[in-house]
Amino acid sequence: MTTSTGLRRWWIGAAALAALLALPAFASQYIVHIANFILIYTLPVIGLGFLTGFAGRVSLAQGALFGVGAYTTALLTTKFGWTPIATFVPSVMMTVVLAVALGGAAVRLAGLYFVMATIGIQQIVWIVLMNWIDLTNGPQGVRSIPAIGFGNYRLETPQQFYFLALVAAGISYILAKRVIGSRLGLYLRALSDDQLAASSVAVEVGRAKVIALALSAAWAGAGGFLYAHYVRFVHPDMFGLDASVLYLVMSIFGGYRSIVGMIVATGLLESATEYLRPFGEFRMIAYGMILLLGMMFFPKGILTLVRRRASVPAAGKG
Protein backbone atom coordinates (compact mmCIF):
# COMPACT_ATOMS: atom_id res chain seq x y z
CA MET A 1 0.00 0.00 0.00
CA THR A 2 1.57 3.20 -1.05
CA THR A 3 -1.32 5.56 -0.48
CA SER A 4 -0.89 8.14 2.23
CA THR A 5 -3.36 6.40 4.54
CA GLY A 6 -1.40 3.22 4.14
CA LEU A 7 1.85 4.90 5.03
CA ARG A 8 0.29 6.68 7.97
CA ARG A 9 -1.12 3.43 9.25
CA TRP A 10 2.30 1.89 9.02
CA TRP A 11 3.79 4.67 11.11
CA ILE A 12 1.07 4.44 13.73
CA GLY A 13 1.56 0.71 13.89
CA ALA A 14 5.32 1.02 14.24
CA ALA A 15 5.00 3.68 16.91
CA ALA A 16 2.51 1.58 18.82
CA LEU A 17 4.80 -1.42 18.63
CA ALA A 18 7.77 0.60 19.88
CA ALA A 19 5.74 1.95 22.78
CA LEU A 20 4.56 -1.52 23.67
CA LEU A 21 8.08 -2.92 23.64
CA ALA A 22 9.38 -0.12 25.81
CA LEU A 23 6.51 -0.16 28.28
CA PRO A 24 8.20 -2.02 31.14
CA ALA A 25 11.03 0.50 31.07
CA PHE A 26 8.95 3.52 31.91
CA ALA A 27 5.76 2.20 33.46
CA SER A 28 5.23 1.02 37.02
CA GLN A 29 4.95 -2.64 37.81
CA TYR A 30 1.26 -2.17 38.42
CA ILE A 31 0.68 -0.83 34.93
CA VAL A 32 2.67 -3.67 33.40
CA HIS A 33 0.51 -6.02 35.46
CA ILE A 34 -2.63 -4.55 33.95
CA ALA A 35 -1.08 -4.67 30.49
CA ASN A 36 -0.42 -8.35 30.98
CA PHE A 37 -4.06 -8.99 31.69
CA ILE A 38 -5.07 -7.01 28.64
CA LEU A 39 -2.72 -9.02 26.46
CA ILE A 40 -3.89 -12.32 27.90
CA TYR A 41 -7.54 -11.42 27.46
CA THR A 42 -7.11 -10.59 23.79
CA LEU A 43 -6.89 -14.32 23.20
CA PRO A 44 -10.35 -15.37 24.36
CA VAL A 45 -11.77 -12.17 22.91
CA ILE A 46 -10.35 -12.79 19.46
CA GLY A 47 -11.49 -16.37 19.84
CA LEU A 48 -15.01 -15.12 20.27
CA GLY A 49 -14.54 -13.05 17.16
CA PHE A 50 -14.40 -16.24 15.10
CA LEU A 51 -17.86 -17.04 16.32
CA THR A 52 -19.47 -13.64 16.41
CA GLY A 53 -18.07 -11.73 13.52
CA PHE A 54 -17.38 -14.55 11.23
CA ALA A 55 -19.91 -17.23 11.98
CA GLY A 56 -22.71 -15.12 13.34
CA ARG A 57 -22.89 -16.89 16.67
CA VAL A 58 -22.81 -15.47 20.16
CA SER A 59 -21.20 -17.55 22.85
CA LEU A 60 -21.47 -17.02 26.57
CA ALA A 61 -19.25 -19.96 27.39
CA GLN A 62 -15.88 -18.41 26.66
CA GLY A 63 -15.17 -17.83 30.33
CA ALA A 64 -15.68 -21.50 31.09
CA LEU A 65 -13.51 -22.58 28.16
CA PHE A 66 -10.80 -20.16 29.26
CA GLY A 67 -11.07 -21.87 32.62
CA VAL A 68 -10.74 -25.32 31.12
CA GLY A 69 -7.45 -24.28 29.56
CA ALA A 70 -6.30 -22.77 32.83
CA TYR A 71 -7.30 -25.73 34.95
CA THR A 72 -5.79 -28.26 32.57
CA THR A 73 -2.38 -26.70 32.79
CA ALA A 74 -2.78 -26.01 36.52
CA LEU A 75 -3.56 -29.63 37.30
CA LEU A 76 -0.95 -31.08 34.97
CA THR A 77 1.79 -28.93 36.46
CA THR A 78 0.84 -29.14 40.12
CA LYS A 79 -0.50 -32.65 40.38
CA PHE A 80 1.62 -34.41 37.82
CA GLY A 81 4.71 -32.27 37.77
CA TRP A 82 4.71 -31.48 34.07
CA THR A 83 6.74 -28.49 32.97
CA PRO A 84 4.53 -25.61 31.89
CA ILE A 85 5.65 -25.47 28.27
CA ALA A 86 4.73 -29.11 27.85
CA THR A 87 1.18 -28.48 28.95
CA PHE A 88 0.38 -25.91 26.30
CA VAL A 89 -0.79 -28.33 23.66
CA PRO A 90 -2.80 -30.51 26.08
CA SER A 91 -4.49 -27.42 27.53
CA VAL A 92 -5.58 -26.20 24.15
CA MET A 93 -6.61 -29.66 23.00
CA MET A 94 -8.63 -30.27 26.16
CA THR A 95 -10.51 -27.03 25.66
CA VAL A 96 -11.23 -27.75 22.02
CA VAL A 97 -12.35 -31.29 22.70
CA LEU A 98 -14.66 -30.22 25.52
CA ALA A 99 -16.11 -27.37 23.51
CA VAL A 100 -16.84 -29.52 20.51
CA ALA A 101 -18.20 -32.33 22.64
CA LEU A 102 -20.60 -30.11 24.53
CA GLY A 103 -21.33 -27.52 21.91
CA GLY A 104 -20.76 -29.28 18.64
CA ALA A 105 -24.33 -30.43 18.47
CA ALA A 106 -25.60 -27.05 19.52
CA VAL A 107 -23.69 -25.01 17.00
CA ARG A 108 -26.04 -25.96 14.22
CA LEU A 109 -28.90 -24.27 16.08
CA ALA A 110 -30.25 -20.91 15.14
CA GLY A 111 -28.28 -18.06 16.64
CA LEU A 112 -30.37 -17.34 19.69
CA TYR A 113 -30.71 -20.97 20.64
CA PHE A 114 -26.98 -21.34 20.42
CA VAL A 115 -26.53 -18.53 22.95
CA MET A 116 -28.85 -20.33 25.26
CA ALA A 117 -26.89 -23.53 24.85
CA THR A 118 -23.63 -21.78 25.65
CA ILE A 119 -25.12 -20.44 28.85
CA GLY A 120 -25.92 -23.99 29.78
CA ILE A 121 -22.38 -25.07 28.96
CA GLN A 122 -20.92 -22.21 30.95
CA GLN A 123 -22.90 -23.02 34.05
CA ILE A 124 -22.34 -26.73 33.83
CA VAL A 125 -18.57 -26.36 33.51
CA TRP A 126 -18.49 -23.92 36.43
CA ILE A 127 -20.56 -26.19 38.64
CA VAL A 128 -18.29 -29.13 37.87
CA LEU A 129 -15.12 -27.09 38.50
CA MET A 130 -16.58 -26.04 41.83
CA ASN A 131 -17.90 -29.36 43.04
CA TRP A 132 -15.68 -32.08 41.62
CA ILE A 133 -13.33 -31.61 44.48
CA ASP A 134 -11.24 -34.71 43.92
CA LEU A 135 -10.25 -33.46 40.52
CA THR A 136 -10.12 -29.70 40.82
CA ASN A 137 -9.84 -29.02 44.56
CA GLY A 138 -13.18 -27.32 44.22
CA PRO A 139 -13.51 -23.99 45.99
CA GLN A 140 -10.01 -24.10 47.39
CA GLY A 141 -8.64 -23.63 43.95
CA VAL A 142 -5.27 -24.73 42.70
CA ARG A 143 -2.38 -22.71 44.00
CA SER A 144 1.37 -22.48 43.56
CA ILE A 145 1.17 -23.03 39.86
CA PRO A 146 4.73 -22.81 38.57
CA ALA A 147 5.89 -20.00 36.32
CA ILE A 148 6.69 -20.65 32.69
CA GLY A 149 10.39 -21.17 32.17
CA PHE A 150 12.82 -21.52 29.31
CA GLY A 151 15.72 -23.61 30.44
CA ASN A 152 16.77 -22.08 33.72
CA TYR A 153 15.12 -18.75 33.13
CA ARG A 154 11.71 -18.38 34.76
CA LEU A 155 9.15 -15.69 33.99
CA GLU A 156 8.42 -14.66 37.55
CA THR A 157 7.81 -10.94 37.60
CA PRO A 158 5.18 -9.02 35.66
CA GLN A 159 7.89 -7.42 33.53
CA GLN A 160 9.36 -10.76 32.57
CA PHE A 161 5.97 -12.20 31.77
CA TYR A 162 5.10 -9.15 29.74
CA PHE A 163 7.26 -10.13 26.81
CA LEU A 164 5.77 -13.57 26.62
CA ALA A 165 2.31 -12.07 26.75
CA LEU A 166 3.21 -9.61 24.02
CA VAL A 167 4.58 -12.34 21.79
CA ALA A 168 1.56 -14.55 22.47
CA ALA A 169 -0.87 -11.75 21.70
CA GLY A 170 1.06 -10.93 18.57
CA ILE A 171 1.06 -14.50 17.33
CA SER A 172 -2.61 -14.82 18.15
CA TYR A 173 -3.37 -11.72 16.10
CA ILE A 174 -1.33 -12.77 13.10
CA LEU A 175 -2.71 -16.28 13.19
CA ALA A 176 -6.25 -14.99 13.42
CA LYS A 177 -5.72 -12.73 10.44
CA ARG A 178 -4.33 -15.65 8.45
CA VAL A 179 -7.33 -17.80 9.30
CA ILE A 180 -9.76 -15.06 8.37
CA GLY A 181 -7.95 -14.45 5.13
CA SER A 182 -7.97 -18.09 4.22
CA ARG A 183 -10.59 -20.13 2.46
CA LEU A 184 -12.03 -21.17 5.77
CA GLY A 185 -12.40 -17.55 6.69
CA LEU A 186 -14.28 -16.94 3.49
CA TYR A 187 -16.68 -19.75 4.32
CA LEU A 188 -17.19 -18.42 7.81
CA ARG A 189 -17.96 -14.94 6.61
CA ALA A 190 -20.33 -16.23 3.99
CA LEU A 191 -22.00 -18.14 6.76
CA SER A 192 -22.62 -15.18 8.96
CA ASP A 193 -23.78 -13.05 6.10
CA ASP A 194 -26.42 -15.37 4.85
CA GLN A 195 -26.54 -18.98 5.79
CA LEU A 196 -29.08 -19.88 3.15
CA ALA A 197 -27.03 -18.40 0.37
CA ALA A 198 -23.85 -19.92 1.72
CA SER A 199 -25.28 -23.40 1.72
CA SER A 200 -26.52 -22.89 -1.77
CA VAL A 201 -22.97 -22.48 -3.01
CA ALA A 202 -21.98 -25.70 -1.36
CA VAL A 203 -20.28 -24.23 1.64
CA GLU A 204 -20.30 -27.00 4.16
CA VAL A 205 -22.29 -25.09 6.66
CA GLY A 206 -22.32 -27.53 9.49
CA ARG A 207 -18.65 -28.29 9.42
CA ALA A 208 -17.64 -24.67 9.12
CA LYS A 209 -19.60 -23.83 12.23
CA VAL A 210 -17.95 -26.57 14.23
CA ILE A 211 -14.56 -25.39 13.06
CA ALA A 212 -15.39 -21.86 14.16
CA LEU A 213 -16.32 -23.26 17.54
CA ALA A 214 -13.09 -25.23 17.71
CA LEU A 215 -11.07 -22.15 16.82
CA SER A 216 -12.75 -20.06 19.48
CA ALA A 217 -12.09 -22.80 22.01
CA ALA A 218 -8.44 -23.08 20.99
CA TRP A 219 -7.89 -19.38 21.53
CA ALA A 220 -9.69 -19.53 24.83
CA GLY A 221 -7.63 -22.49 26.00
CA ALA A 222 -4.39 -20.80 25.02
CA GLY A 223 -5.43 -17.71 26.93
CA GLY A 224 -6.29 -19.80 29.95
CA PHE A 225 -2.87 -21.43 29.82
CA LEU A 226 -1.19 -18.03 29.97
CA TYR A 227 -3.49 -16.84 32.72
CA ALA A 228 -2.78 -19.81 34.96
CA HIS A 229 0.97 -19.32 34.74
CA TYR A 230 0.69 -15.63 35.38
CA VAL A 231 -1.73 -15.43 38.28
CA ARG A 232 -0.39 -18.78 39.56
CA PHE A 233 -3.71 -19.54 41.27
CA VAL A 234 -6.96 -20.71 39.74
CA HIS A 235 -10.39 -20.74 41.27
CA PRO A 236 -13.76 -21.54 39.67
CA ASP A 237 -15.06 -18.02 40.32
CA MET A 238 -12.53 -16.65 37.87
CA PHE A 239 -14.25 -18.51 35.05
CA GLY A 240 -17.92 -17.86 35.67
CA LEU A 241 -20.64 -16.17 33.67
CA ASP A 242 -19.20 -12.76 34.54
CA ALA A 243 -15.99 -13.63 32.74
CA SER A 244 -17.91 -14.86 29.70
CA VAL A 245 -19.89 -11.67 29.63
CA LEU A 246 -16.71 -9.62 29.88
CA TYR A 247 -15.09 -11.35 26.92
CA LEU A 248 -18.25 -11.12 24.87
CA VAL A 249 -18.55 -7.45 25.63
CA MET A 250 -14.95 -6.83 24.63
CA SER A 251 -15.51 -8.74 21.45
CA ILE A 252 -18.66 -6.89 20.51
CA PHE A 253 -17.38 -3.52 21.54
CA GLY A 254 -14.53 -4.12 19.22
CA GLY A 255 -16.91 -4.41 16.37
CA TYR A 256 -18.17 -7.22 14.29
CA ARG A 257 -15.15 -8.11 12.32
CA SER A 258 -12.40 -5.93 13.47
CA ILE A 259 -9.70 -7.83 15.27
CA VAL A 260 -7.84 -4.61 15.93
CA GLY A 261 -11.06 -3.20 17.33
CA MET A 262 -11.37 -6.14 19.66
CA ILE A 263 -7.85 -5.64 20.91
CA VAL A 264 -8.48 -1.96 21.50
CA ALA A 265 -11.77 -2.69 23.24
CA THR A 266 -10.08 -5.22 25.49
CA GLY A 267 -7.51 -2.63 26.46
CA LEU A 268 -10.11 0.03 27.15
CA LEU A 269 -12.52 -2.12 29.10
CA GLU A 270 -9.88 -3.80 31.22
CA SER A 271 -8.24 -0.49 32.10
CA ALA A 272 -11.70 0.88 32.80
CA THR A 273 -12.34 -1.71 35.47
CA GLU A 274 -9.13 -0.57 37.11
CA TYR A 275 -9.77 3.17 36.65
CA LEU A 276 -13.21 2.74 38.06
CA ARG A 277 -11.88 1.33 41.30
CA PRO A 278 -11.96 4.68 43.13
CA PHE A 279 -15.68 4.81 42.47
CA GLY A 280 -16.09 2.09 45.05
CA GLU A 281 -19.69 1.07 45.19
CA PHE A 282 -20.46 2.85 41.95
CA ARG A 283 -17.86 0.99 39.99
CA MET A 284 -20.21 -1.72 38.86
CA ILE A 285 -22.93 0.78 38.04
CA ALA A 286 -20.44 2.59 35.84
CA TYR A 287 -19.43 -0.69 34.21
CA GLY A 288 -23.06 -1.57 33.51
CA MET A 289 -23.70 1.89 32.09
CA ILE A 290 -20.70 1.56 29.79
CA LEU A 291 -22.11 -1.70 28.46
CA LEU A 292 -25.60 -0.37 28.07
CA LEU A 293 -24.74 2.99 26.56
CA GLY A 294 -22.07 1.41 24.40
CA MET A 295 -24.59 -0.95 22.89
CA MET A 296 -27.21 1.73 22.53
CA PHE A 297 -25.00 4.18 20.72
CA PHE A 298 -22.17 2.19 19.20
CA PRO A 299 -23.72 -1.10 18.18
CA LYS A 300 -21.17 -1.54 15.46
CA GLY A 301 -18.26 -1.25 17.80
CA ILE A 302 -16.19 1.57 19.18
CA LEU A 303 -13.90 1.89 16.24
CA THR A 304 -16.76 3.47 14.37
CA LEU A 305 -15.88 6.45 16.49
CA VAL A 306 -12.42 6.58 15.06
CA ARG A 307 -12.72 5.37 11.55
CA ARG A 308 -15.31 6.00 8.91
CA ARG A 309 -15.10 2.66 7.23
CA ALA A 310 -15.87 2.05 3.62
CA SER A 311 -19.22 0.37 3.37
CA VAL A 312 -17.84 -2.83 1.88
CA PRO A 313 -14.72 -4.08 3.56
CA ALA A 314 -12.24 -5.66 1.18
CA ALA A 315 -11.67 -9.37 1.55
CA GLY A 316 -8.98 -10.23 4.06
CA LYS A 317 -9.18 -6.98 5.94
CA GLY A 318 -10.02 -7.27 9.63
Partner: protein
Protein backbone atom coordinates in the same frame (compact mmCIF):
# COMPACT_ATOMS: atom_id res chain seq x y z
CA UNK B 1 -39.53 -36.32 52.01
CA UNK B 2 -41.10 -36.49 48.57
CA UNK B 3 -44.10 -34.38 49.57
CA UNK B 4 -41.89 -31.67 50.95
CA UNK B 5 -39.64 -31.60 47.94
CA UNK B 6 -42.52 -31.67 45.53
CA UNK B 7 -44.48 -28.86 47.11
CA UNK B 8 -41.40 -26.75 47.64
CA UNK B 9 -40.46 -27.35 44.04
CA UNK B 10 -43.91 -26.40 42.90
CA UNK B 11 -43.64 -23.02 44.56
CA UNK B 12 -40.20 -22.17 43.21
CA UNK B 13 -41.37 -23.63 39.92
CA UNK B 14 -44.22 -21.15 39.84
CA UNK B 15 -41.72 -18.36 40.26
CA UNK B 16 -39.55 -19.66 37.41
CA UNK B 17 -42.70 -19.98 35.34
CA UNK B 18 -43.88 -16.46 35.93
CA UNK B 19 -40.47 -14.86 35.42
CA UNK B 20 -40.03 -17.10 32.42
CA UNK B 21 -43.24 -15.67 31.03
CA UNK B 22 -41.50 -12.34 30.87
CA UNK B 23 -38.84 -13.86 28.62
CA UNK B 24 -41.44 -15.55 26.49
CA UNK B 25 -43.59 -12.48 25.96
CA UNK B 26 -40.65 -10.45 24.71
CA UNK B 27 -39.31 -13.28 22.62
CA UNK B 28 -42.60 -13.92 20.88
CA UNK B 29 -42.91 -10.35 19.82
CA UNK B 30 -39.33 -9.41 19.11
CA UNK B 31 -37.31 -12.61 18.86
CA UNK B 32 -34.98 -11.12 21.44
CA UNK B 33 -34.01 -12.23 24.92
CA UNK B 34 -34.05 -9.66 27.68
CA UNK B 35 -31.17 -10.60 29.94
CA UNK B 36 -32.26 -8.14 32.59
CA UNK B 37 -35.44 -10.09 33.29
CA UNK B 38 -34.04 -11.60 36.48
CA UNK B 39 -33.19 -8.14 37.76
CA UNK B 40 -36.71 -6.93 37.01
CA UNK B 41 -37.91 -9.73 39.25
CA UNK B 42 -35.56 -8.48 41.95
CA UNK B 43 -36.75 -4.91 41.52
CA UNK B 44 -40.31 -6.13 41.91
CA UNK B 45 -39.39 -7.70 45.22
CA UNK B 46 -37.82 -4.48 46.44
CA UNK B 47 -40.71 -2.40 45.17
CA UNK B 48 -42.94 -4.68 47.17
CA UNK B 49 -40.74 -4.33 50.22
CA UNK B 50 -40.66 -0.57 50.14
CA UNK B 51 -44.36 -0.23 49.35
CA UNK B 52 -45.38 -2.70 52.03
CA UNK B 53 -43.32 -0.92 54.63
CA UNK B 54 -44.39 2.58 53.68
CA UNK B 55 -48.01 2.06 52.80
CA UNK B 56 -48.81 -1.02 54.88
CA UNK B 57 -50.84 -2.52 52.10
CA UNK B 58 -52.21 -6.01 52.33
CA UNK B 59 -51.29 -8.57 49.71
CA UNK B 60 -53.74 -7.96 46.91
CA UNK B 61 -53.47 -4.17 46.64
CA UNK B 62 -49.73 -4.54 47.04
CA UNK B 63 -49.50 -6.86 44.06
CA UNK B 64 -51.63 -4.51 42.08
CA UNK B 65 -49.58 -1.43 42.91
CA UNK B 66 -46.26 -3.12 42.28
CA UNK B 67 -47.34 -4.57 38.98
CA UNK B 68 -48.69 -1.22 37.87
CA UNK B 69 -45.40 0.50 38.68
CA UNK B 70 -43.43 -2.25 36.97
CA UNK B 71 -45.68 -2.05 33.94
CA UNK B 72 -45.05 1.64 33.62
CA UNK B 73 -41.33 1.10 34.12
CA UNK B 74 -41.33 -1.49 31.36
CA UNK B 75 -42.98 0.84 28.92
CA UNK B 76 -40.68 3.70 29.78
CA UNK B 77 -37.56 1.58 29.45
CA UNK B 78 -38.75 0.25 26.13
CA UNK B 79 -38.97 3.76 24.83
CA UNK B 80 -35.69 4.96 26.27
CA UNK B 81 -33.48 1.90 26.21
CA UNK B 82 -34.71 -1.26 24.58
CA UNK B 83 -35.75 0.44 21.39
CA UNK B 84 -32.16 1.36 20.72
CA UNK B 85 -30.91 -2.15 21.14
CA UNK B 86 -32.86 -3.85 18.37
CA UNK B 87 -29.83 -3.62 16.09
CA UNK B 88 -28.94 -7.28 16.45
CA UNK B 89 -29.18 -10.17 18.88
CA UNK B 90 -25.70 -9.63 20.26
CA UNK B 91 -26.27 -5.97 20.87
CA UNK B 92 -29.56 -6.65 22.61
CA UNK B 93 -28.00 -9.32 24.77
CA UNK B 94 -24.99 -7.30 25.86
CA UNK B 95 -27.10 -4.17 26.29
CA UNK B 96 -29.62 -5.88 28.53
CA UNK B 97 -26.84 -7.55 30.48
CA UNK B 98 -25.50 -4.05 31.09
CA UNK B 99 -28.95 -2.90 32.14
CA UNK B 100 -29.14 -5.81 34.55
CA UNK B 101 -25.80 -4.89 36.08
CA UNK B 102 -26.92 -1.29 36.52
CA UNK B 103 -30.18 -2.34 38.18
CA UNK B 104 -28.43 -4.79 40.51
CA UNK B 105 -25.86 -2.30 41.67
CA UNK B 106 -28.20 0.64 42.02
CA UNK B 107 -30.30 -1.47 44.36
CA UNK B 108 -27.13 -2.54 46.10
CA UNK B 109 -26.30 1.05 46.97
CA UNK B 110 -29.53 1.35 48.89
CA UNK B 111 -29.69 -2.19 50.21
CA UNK B 112 -26.19 -3.59 50.60
CA UNK B 113 -27.34 -6.56 52.66
CA UNK B 114 -30.24 -8.98 52.69
CA UNK B 115 -33.50 -7.67 54.16
CA UNK B 116 -36.44 -9.62 55.50
CA UNK B 117 -39.74 -9.12 53.71
CA UNK B 118 -42.98 -8.59 55.62
CA UNK B 119 -45.22 -11.60 55.77
CA UNK B 120 -48.00 -10.22 53.64
CA UNK B 121 -49.51 -13.64 53.16
CA UNK B 122 -49.65 -14.47 56.83
CA UNK B 123 -47.37 -16.78 58.70
CA UNK B 124 -49.44 -19.86 59.36
CA UNK B 125 -47.71 -23.11 58.85
CA UNK B 126 -49.61 -25.61 56.77
CA UNK B 127 -49.13 -29.33 56.96
CA UNK B 128 -49.98 -31.73 54.17
CA UNK B 129 -48.79 -35.26 54.69
CA UNK B 130 -45.18 -35.03 55.80
CA UNK B 131 -44.78 -31.65 54.18
CA UNK B 132 -44.72 -28.58 56.36
CA UNK B 133 -44.60 -25.16 54.80
CA UNK B 134 -45.65 -21.58 55.22
CA UNK B 135 -49.05 -20.65 53.86
CA UNK B 136 -47.25 -18.31 51.50
CA UNK B 137 -46.49 -21.33 49.32
CA UNK B 138 -50.20 -21.87 48.80
CA UNK B 139 -50.68 -18.28 47.82
CA UNK B 140 -47.82 -18.44 45.38
CA UNK B 141 -49.41 -21.34 43.55
CA UNK B 142 -52.87 -19.79 43.62
CA UNK B 143 -51.59 -16.43 42.42
CA UNK B 144 -49.74 -18.04 39.57
CA UNK B 145 -52.86 -19.88 38.52
CA UNK B 146 -54.93 -16.73 38.62
CA UNK B 147 -52.28 -14.84 36.69
CA UNK B 148 -52.14 -17.45 33.95
CA UNK B 149 -55.93 -17.46 33.63
CA UNK B 150 -56.02 -13.67 33.47
CA UNK B 151 -53.31 -13.60 30.83
CA UNK B 152 -55.07 -16.19 28.77
CA UNK B 153 -58.29 -14.24 28.96
CA UNK B 154 -56.47 -11.10 27.95
CA UNK B 155 -54.84 -12.68 24.95
CA UNK B 156 -57.98 -14.33 23.72
CA UNK B 157 -60.70 -11.83 24.42
CA UNK B 158 -59.29 -8.35 24.58
CA UNK B 159 -58.27 -6.17 21.72
CA UNK B 160 -54.87 -5.42 23.18
CA UNK B 161 -54.28 -9.10 23.65
CA UNK B 162 -55.12 -9.89 20.10
CA UNK B 163 -52.89 -7.08 18.95
CA UNK B 164 -50.05 -8.67 20.92
CA UNK B 165 -50.65 -11.99 19.28
CA UNK B 166 -50.83 -10.38 15.87
CA UNK B 167 -47.56 -8.57 16.28
CA UNK B 168 -45.98 -11.74 17.60
CA UNK B 169 -47.10 -13.66 14.55
CA UNK B 170 -46.04 -11.11 11.99
CA UNK B 171 -45.35 -7.52 12.86
CA UNK B 172 -45.40 -6.22 9.33
CA UNK B 173 -48.79 -7.58 8.48
CA UNK B 174 -50.16 -6.56 11.84
CA UNK B 175 -49.09 -3.06 11.06
CA UNK B 176 -50.90 -3.07 7.77
CA UNK B 177 -54.16 -4.04 9.40
CA UNK B 178 -54.01 -1.08 11.72
CA UNK B 179 -52.28 -2.39 14.79
CA UNK B 180 -50.06 0.19 16.40
CA UNK B 181 -46.96 -1.96 16.39
CA UNK B 182 -44.76 0.33 18.43
CA UNK B 183 -47.28 0.69 21.16
CA UNK B 184 -47.89 -3.02 21.20
CA UNK B 185 -44.21 -3.67 21.65
CA UNK B 186 -44.15 -1.20 24.50
CA UNK B 187 -47.11 -3.00 26.05
CA UNK B 188 -45.26 -6.27 25.71
CA UNK B 189 -42.38 -4.98 27.74
CA UNK B 190 -44.73 -3.47 30.26
CA UNK B 191 -46.42 -6.81 30.67
CA UNK B 192 -43.18 -8.76 30.95
CA UNK B 193 -41.96 -6.35 33.63
CA UNK B 194 -45.25 -6.58 35.48
CA UNK B 195 -45.29 -10.35 35.68
CA UNK B 196 -41.67 -10.52 36.82
CA UNK B 197 -42.39 -7.95 39.51
CA UNK B 198 -45.41 -9.92 40.69
CA UNK B 199 -43.18 -12.96 41.03
CA UNK B 200 -40.82 -10.87 43.12
CA UNK B 201 -43.55 -9.88 45.53
CA UNK B 202 -44.86 -13.43 45.75
CA UNK B 203 -41.51 -14.84 46.71
CA UNK B 204 -40.51 -12.03 49.02
CA UNK B 205 -41.99 -13.50 52.20
CA UNK B 206 -40.33 -16.85 51.62
CA UNK B 207 -36.75 -15.66 51.61
CA UNK B 208 -34.82 -12.49 52.26
CA UNK B 209 -34.71 -9.97 49.47
CA UNK B 210 -31.26 -9.05 48.29
CA UNK B 211 -29.80 -7.35 45.27
CA UNK B 212 -28.50 -10.61 43.88
CA UNK B 213 -31.70 -12.61 44.13
CA UNK B 214 -32.45 -12.11 40.47
CA UNK B 215 -29.28 -13.63 39.04
CA UNK B 216 -29.96 -17.33 39.47
CA UNK B 217 -33.71 -16.97 39.14
CA UNK B 218 -33.22 -15.18 35.83
CA UNK B 219 -31.02 -17.94 34.46
CA UNK B 220 -33.31 -20.71 35.62
CA UNK B 221 -36.46 -18.97 34.43
CA UNK B 222 -34.71 -18.63 31.10
CA UNK B 223 -33.95 -22.35 31.09
CA UNK B 224 -37.56 -22.98 31.99
CA UNK B 225 -38.80 -20.92 29.07
CA UNK B 226 -36.48 -22.67 26.65
CA UNK B 227 -37.37 -26.06 28.06
CA UNK B 228 -41.07 -25.50 27.71
CA UNK B 229 -40.82 -23.58 24.50
CA UNK B 230 -39.78 -19.97 24.48
CA UNK B 231 -42.50 -19.04 22.08
CA UNK B 232 -45.21 -20.84 23.99
CA UNK B 233 -46.87 -19.51 27.10
CA UNK B 234 -48.25 -22.78 28.40
CA UNK B 235 -44.88 -24.31 27.57
CA UNK B 236 -43.05 -21.81 29.71
CA UNK B 237 -45.36 -22.43 32.64
CA UNK B 238 -44.86 -26.13 32.29
CA UNK B 239 -41.13 -25.68 31.96
CA UNK B 240 -40.95 -23.60 35.10
CA UNK B 241 -42.88 -26.06 37.19
CA UNK B 242 -40.88 -28.95 35.80
CA UNK B 243 -37.54 -27.39 36.58
CA UNK B 244 -38.63 -26.31 40.04
CA UNK B 245 -39.78 -29.76 41.00
CA UNK B 246 -37.01 -31.67 39.25
CA UNK B 247 -34.17 -29.68 40.77
CA UNK B 248 -35.64 -30.12 44.24
CA UNK B 249 -36.05 -33.84 43.77
CA UNK B 250 -32.52 -34.13 42.43
CA UNK B 251 -31.18 -32.05 45.28
CA UNK B 252 -32.95 -34.14 47.84
CA UNK B 253 -32.45 -37.61 46.45
CA UNK B 254 -29.25 -37.42 44.44
CA UNK B 255 -26.89 -34.66 45.47
CA UNK B 256 -27.42 -31.25 46.95
CA UNK B 257 -24.11 -30.07 45.54
CA UNK B 258 -25.19 -30.53 41.95
CA UNK B 259 -28.73 -29.26 42.33
CA UNK B 260 -28.19 -26.27 40.04
CA UNK B 261 -26.79 -28.56 37.40
CA UNK B 262 -30.27 -29.94 36.78
CA UNK B 263 -31.68 -26.76 35.33
CA UNK B 264 -28.75 -26.24 32.98
CA UNK B 265 -28.42 -29.83 31.93
CA UNK B 266 -32.10 -29.81 31.03
CA UNK B 267 -31.52 -26.61 29.08
CA UNK B 268 -28.65 -28.03 27.10
CA UNK B 269 -30.23 -31.37 26.37
CA UNK B 270 -33.48 -29.76 25.33
CA UNK B 271 -31.76 -27.39 22.97
CA UNK B 272 -29.89 -30.15 21.26
CA UNK B 273 -32.81 -32.51 21.09
CA UNK B 274 -35.69 -30.16 20.46
CA UNK B 275 -34.78 -26.47 20.36
CA UNK B 276 -38.33 -25.27 20.20
CA UNK B 277 -39.00 -26.80 23.56
CA UNK B 278 -41.65 -29.18 24.79
CA UNK B 279 -44.62 -27.24 23.57
CA UNK B 280 -43.05 -24.78 21.23
CA UNK B 281 -43.93 -24.49 17.60
CA UNK B 282 -41.38 -23.93 14.92
CA UNK B 283 -41.61 -20.28 14.11
CA UNK B 284 -40.02 -19.06 10.91
CA UNK B 285 -36.82 -17.64 12.26
CA UNK B 286 -34.39 -15.74 10.13
CA UNK B 287 -31.18 -17.68 10.16
Amino acid sequence: MFDQLFIGGLATGCIYAVVGLGFTLVYRTLRMVNFAQGQVFMIGAFLGLVTAERAHLPALPLLFVVSAIAFALGMVLERLVFRRLYHSHEVFIVGTIGLGIVLTNVVRVFFPGPVPFPKIFGSHVVQIGTARFQETYVWVVISTLVLVVLLHAMFTYTRAGRALRAVAADAEIAGTVGVNVNRTIALTFGLSFAVAAIAGVLIGPLYFVSFDMGDMVGLKAFSAAVFGGINSIPGTILGGLAIGVLENLAGGYISSAYKDLVAFAILLVMLIWRPTGLLGRDMPVKV
